[in-house]
């Protein structure tokens, strides 16, 4: 198991190295003004500056808090709603058309309206994450409840489980692989929504806001540095939170095969 893993790491290092080299060559070629194509050194210096004065951590903190609360609210609403849809036909018939129409609308298309409704600031960003995260959670949970093996329910019934016990001991854990997949998708969509939303709706802090604000002063090094942080953070949460959650639950139960490194 060590060799394929080592090979993957080497592959990643080579890919990033070559991309960095290509960027460096392009940045120093002078085909675009140096002010808008900063070399790696300048990007690193800008990041180091933000780390030293601590602003980077505040930006990251705001962005994470916004996506965290948006995701939590979406899970609080979406998971129970998806469960109900899977169990009660009339609720499914009522909710599904709404979800089907609202789900394809990109969350960022709501930004102007959300600003009018909630004003600039945290509320608009959180609402945006909530919107982006809600539908994958509803749809995946609903699918998960519908996909629960009938045999588990029969077995539980034969052992005297009532409908409440079946829901708690069979439907809930049985649907969990789908709920976790839903959380993953919700995070991916929420991450796009929070950065995009902060660009327009945030007022002083947040990774999206930093990028947009840097445009005023042509601070392309700060912009690129923040982009790198956004990418790394997204990957980090995916790997640390969701992969760990899967390892502890559905992978351990053999419901999905391991995909994490």
């Amino acid at each position: 198991m060590i060799r394929p893993r080592a090979r993957r790491i080497v592959g990643a290092v080579v890919a990033f190295g070559l991309t960095a080299l290509a960027w460096e060559a392009f940045a120093r070629s002078g085909s675009l003004p140096p002010a808008i194509t900063p070399p790696l050194e300048a990007i690193a210096a800008a990041l180091a500056g933000m780390i030293r004065d601590g602003t980077l951590f505040v930006h990251v903190g705001y962005t994470l808090a916004r996506i965290g609360s948006g995701l939590a609210l979406a899970a609080l609403v979406g998971v129970p709603l998806g469960m109900l849809m899977g169990r009660v036909r009339s609720i499914e018939r009522f909710v599904l058309p709404l979800v089907s129409v609202l789900s394809p609308i990109p969350s960022l298309a709501w930004v102007p309206l959300f600003i009018l409704w909630f004003g600039l600031g945290n509320t608009a960003s959180v609402a945006l994450v909530f919107y982006a995260a809600l539908f994958p959670l509803i749809l995946n949970t609903w699918t998960g409840v519908c996909a629960v093996n009938r045999l588990w329910i029969r077995a539980a019934e034969s052992m005297g489980a009532g409908s409440g016990a079946i829901f708690r001991h069979v439907v809930l854990p049985g649907a969990l692989p789908f709920v976790i997949a839903g959380l993953r998708q919700a995070f991916a969509r929420g991450w796009i929504a929070v950065v995009g939303g902060e660009m327009i709706a945030a007022t002083r802090w947040g990774l999206g806001w930093v990028i947009f604000d840097s445009k005023e002063f042509l601070n392309t090094d700060v912009m690129l540095g923040s982009l790198a942080v956004i990418g790394l953070l997204g990957l980090g949460v995916e790997r640390l939170v969701f992969a760990a959650l899967e390892r502890r639950t559905v992978e351990r139960w053999g419901l999905v095969r391991g995909t994490s490194a």
């Binding site: 588990w152 077995a155 019934e157 034969s158 052992m159 005297g160 001991h169 419901l255």
Partner: protein, 250 residues
């Protein structure tokens, strides 16, 4: 003493081309602690009959009584083992699967754990108490399922081709184990299979069903001492008789 009484039971369901009669006028009595096999070709309604006794379905004619009481739904007086390995809960260890029925009955943690251990020992899986189902082989999973169906102490064990998906060697082993478990627990067993040799090996009595609609065509008492030798002449003679009732070449 009659434990299960199946009296003139019929079952009809709505098919795509009108109502289909799956079972007609089926009458079978099963004595307490008797091991009864239901044998028939696929589509003869043997699984339907088992599901009726389990209470997953209700007969459209006739009635089924267990210990004198009419069956109206599933109950803790019956334990069910299915063919599909997937019947175990993947998110519970073997031990916690076996505890499920006791948990539903409201038993305390100590009693649950002790009882589950005892039944895992009975199917020779005590060492695997902490394993999740996907870590166990098919035969081991079916053994856990048997332990789980027995742990809450039902008087009747209903089994729907529990070993049909196993390889031949494992199946032989499982049949021996089941006979031992039955001898020790003295449950009344209703066992569905399409495998004639399996039926002769396991059963006190073999009921042969014929399809379209499912009706009882033979009731064969297997008067062989246990453990039975599947290669003995008497064993083969029983097989020949039952295959004859099934309408095959005997």
């Amino acid at each position: 003493m009659r434990h299960i009484e199946i009296a003139k039971v019929g079952y009809e369901y709505a098919g795509t081309a009108g109502p289909v009669t799956a079972l007609r006028e089926v009458t079978v009595d099963v004595a307490t602690s008797e091991f009864l096999c239901l044998v028939g070709r696929s589509g003869c309604g043997k699984t339907t009959l088992l599901n009726l006794v389990a209470g997953f379905l209700s007969p459209t004619r006739g009635e089924i009584r267990i210990s004198g009481r009419i069956v109206t739904g599933h109950g803790l007086d019956r334990g069910v083992v299915f063919q599909d390995f997937a019947q175990l809960f993947p998110w519970r260890t073997a031990q916690r699967n076996v505890e499920f029925g006791l948990e539903m009955r409201g038993a305390g943690a100590a009693e649950r754990s002790e009882t589950a251990r005892r039944f895992l020992r009975l199917v020779d899986l005590e060492r695997f108490a902490g394993a999740y189902p996907h870590e166990l082989s098919g035969g081991m999973q079916q053994r856990v399922a048997i332990a789980r169906a027995l742990a809450y102490n039902p008087a009747v064990l209903l089994m729907d081709e529990p070993f049909a998906a196993l390889d031949a060697l494992t199946r032989d082993e499982m049949q021996r184990l089941l006979v031992d478990v039955w001898a020790e627990t003295r449950k009344t067993v209703l066992y569905v299979t399409h495998n004639v040799a399996e039926a002769v090996y396991l059963a006190d009595r073999v009921i042969v069903l014929s399809p379209h609609p499912g009706t009882v065509v033979a009731d064969v008492r297997v008067a062989l001492p246990r453990p039975r030798d599947p290669l003995s002449l008497a064993f083969l003679e029983y097989q020949r008789t039952i295959v004859g009732h099934l309408g095959g070449r005997g």
